[in-house]
């Protein structure tokens, strides 16, 4: 169960290699595939001089391996290009928008995971055909849901027609000013708690309700389905029968033995689930005008702001790879059969 240091080091090296791979792939996408990469890079309203400058910056006159070298060099130096929409360096933009997305994604994901495992286990226990059916239904609908559609519908119903919940944005700037709120970490929930600014906290949380609900639908559905089928399998395993015949109460068996055996395989797919959450965040942020990376990429797509799109994609890919590394480590920690 204890994870050896060599394993961790191996995985970290793997992570670096994977990131390099991601960069190479994006390099191919951005430089090799397009016929005139500098056009894409400079944006749709660029002047001839700007296009020429882009050509220089991208070293397009030089052989490919030199281009690749500069590409990687730029990346690690933090030079990810400039968004022609915001006129800021892309990396800076991304880091500014990052906390919003993390707040949204982590909240939605945690809720989806906890609720999903809970409901999945219940539906596997067989507490009645009715509960089973309902939970399966939620699972299937959740896993089939077009996130953007649901977002629009809920936003219209609750935000505009019924006016119960705010229709968008992350924070009421007027309220923030009035109550003297200052973003410190940029994680507004943490910031408002630190400053004991309750009105802003409530406002921020209220504005998160709709986006989080929409965002968690897909991972919720996925988790329910996965937990349910895993739990059914585990429940018919022989060791459950053995533990029962040796006298352990079904409660202990459930919580200790069944739960662990169900969770272990799920942990590995948590990374993927989170990946879906991140992609979903893209669309949710656009619809609810929530200023996170998703919103940034979405706006970039609409305005053909190519550097911003690529920068956002690479950044999210890096986060995703990192999360996968973490889940793999957790899995190795839980499951003693994993070869280190």
């Amino acid at each position: 169960m204890p994870v050896s240091k060599t394993y961790i080091i191996k995985r970290v090296i793997l992570l670096i290699l994977v990131v390099l791979g991601v960069l190479v792939i994006t390099f191919i996408i951005t430089r090799i595939i397009p016929a005139r990469p500098e056009l894409l890079w400079a944006g749709p309203h660029a002047t001839i001089e700007q296009i020429e400058r882009a050509r220089q910056e991208l070293h397009l006159n030089e052989p490919i391996y030199t281009q690749l070298y500069y590409y990687l060099y730029d990346f690690f130096r933090g030079n990810w290009g400039v968004s022609w929409r915001t006129r800021q360096p892309v990396l800076e933009d991304i880091l500014t928008y990052l906390p919003a997305t993390l707040e949204l994604a982590i909240t939605a994901f945690l809720l989806a995971f906890l609720l999903g495992v809970f409901l999945g286990m219940i539906s596997a226990r067989g507490y009645g055909r009715f509960t089973e059916k309902i939970i399966s239904l939620i699972g299937i609908i959740g896993a089939s849901m077009p996130v953007f559609w649901l977002g629009l519908i809920l936003q219209t119903i609750f935000g505009i027609w019924l006016q119960i919940l705010p229709a968008g944005n992350r924070i009421d700037s007027k309220l923030a000013l009035a109550t003297g709120f200052r973003p410190i970490t940029n994680f507004y929930i943490i910031d408002s708690l630190i400053q004991l600014n309750i009105p802003v906290l409530i406002d921020v949380l209220k504005r998160m309700i709709l986006p989080v609900t929409v965002l968690m639908m897909y991972p919720l559905g996925l988790t329910i389905r996965m937990t349910r089928s895993l739990a059914i399998e585990v429940l018919s395993e022989n060791y459950v029968k053995a533990l029962e015949t040796w006298g352990l109460s079904s409660r202990i068996i459930s919580y200790k033995y069944i739960l662990k055996n169900v969770l272990a395989p799920i942990i590995t797919s948590l990374g993927l689930s989170f990946g879906y959450t991140l992609t979903g965040a893209l669309m949710v942020e656009i619809i609810f005008v929530y200023p996170g990376i998703g919103y940034y990429i979405g706006m970039a797509l609409l305005s053909l702001d190519y550097p911003a799109v690529i920068g956002g994609v690479v950044f999210i890919a890096i986060i995703y790879s990192f999360i996968n590394l973490v889940t793999d480590l957790i899995h190795a920690w839980i499951d003693p059969r994993v070869k280190l």
């Binding site: 290699l17 994977v18 990131v19 791979g21 991601v22 190479v24 792939i25 994006t26 996408i29 951005t30 595939i33 397009p34 894409l40 067989g126 055909r129 299937i140 609908i141 896993a143 089939s144 849901m145 077009p146 996130v147 953007f148 559609w149 649901l150 629009l152 519908i153 219209t156 505009i160 027609w161 389905r225 089928s229 059914i232 399998e233 018919s236 993927l272 990946g275 879906y276 991140l278 992609t279 893209l282 669309m283 656009i286 990429i297 979405g298 797509l301 609409l302 053909l304 190519y306 799109v309 690529i310 994609v313 999210i316 890919a317 995703y320 790879s321 996968n324």
Partner: protein, 278 residues
């Protein structure tokens, strides 16, 4: 069962769509009549009309066909590439196979859809580019699936038995290894059709999928976005149909998986017994 019905419906409608359109000009987006714009759902226009007075039902029906085309295209293309890479890696094995898989893993480092977004942004809008973009982000899944599949079949006892009995290598490859390794991938592919529809719609919604005036469902939803407060039906119905279709595929997939897994099947049988009051 329900899934099967839904999917069959989808396939049929998609296939015959151009022939059942009552107002083809509307569906293809060629004509417009601003006098008829924003009509709510009625007998004449069951799904209402959009900003250009085009009948939404027609557009949605044609949209089914595009979703079908794109989904089939994506799954077939990514399956093909995945098979090539995965099977080769599995067969040749060793360092070459591992290297191939490492490259596959690098593609998998992108969360689903994100790579497709980047590609679609580079390649521009269009049905073909959407298919290519999605296929490139999807083939690694099949490659990995097939690599594992081929490996496990390769070392299975019945292959050893065949070799011992004297079956030739080529024969073994084509008559035993290939069919047995492909089966899980093929089942996965059919189930993936639903996800393909969903992802294509997502791309179109973001503006990097199919261009106007093609009535792909994702596009329709984004077209209706601006008008949603006064004409909700423009976005609502395409999305509803999208949901139903994907649910159909998932139900179908679940049914197939339940059928193939004896334990889950027991549970289904239990349900039958209970309803008979034993």
């Amino acid at each position: 069962m329900t899934g099967f019905i839904i999917v069959i419906n989808f396939l049929i409608i998609g296939a015959v769509a151009p022939y059942i359109l009552t107002k083809p000009e509307d569906a293809w987006g060629i004509s417009y009549d601003l006098n008829k714009a924003f009509l709510p759902p009625s007998l004449e226009h069951p799904f209402g009309t959009d900003a250009f007075g085009r009948d939404m039902l027609n557009r949605v029906i044609l949209g089914a066909r595009y979703s079908l085309i794109i989904a089939v295209g994506v799954v077939s293309l990514s399956f093909l590439i995945g098979v090539l890479v995965g099977v080769t890696a599995g067969f040749l094995g060793g360092a070459f196979g591992t290297a191939l898989m490492r490259i596959t893993d690098m593609f998998l480092a992108f969360p689903p859809l994100l790579l497709a977004i980047a590609l679609a942004a580079t390649l521009g809008r269009g049905v073909m580019t959407t298919i290519i973009a999605l296929a490139i982000s999807w083939w690694p899944w099949y490659a990995r699936l097939l690599y594992v599949s081929v490996n496990s079949v390769k070392t299975a006892p019945y292959i050893e038995a065949a070799k011992v009995v004297g079956v030739g290598r080529i024969s073994i490859i084509f008559r035993y290894i290939l069919p047995n390794s492909l089966v899980p991938a093929i089942t996965q592919a059919t189930l993936d059709l639903g996800s393909a529809v969903l992802e294509a719609a997502s791309l179109s919604f973001l503006g990097v999928g199919v261009p106007p005036p093609i009535p792909e469902w994702g596009r329709l939803i984004s077209e209706g976005w601006v008008h949603i407060t006064k004409a909700y039906w423009i976005s609502f119905y395409p999305g509803l149909l999208l949901l139903i279709t994907v649910v159909g595929f998932n139900l179908l997939g679940d049914g197939v998986k339940e059928y193939m897994n004896p334990r889950l099947r027991d549970l289904a049988v239990r349900g039958v017994r209970r309803s008979r009051g034993y």
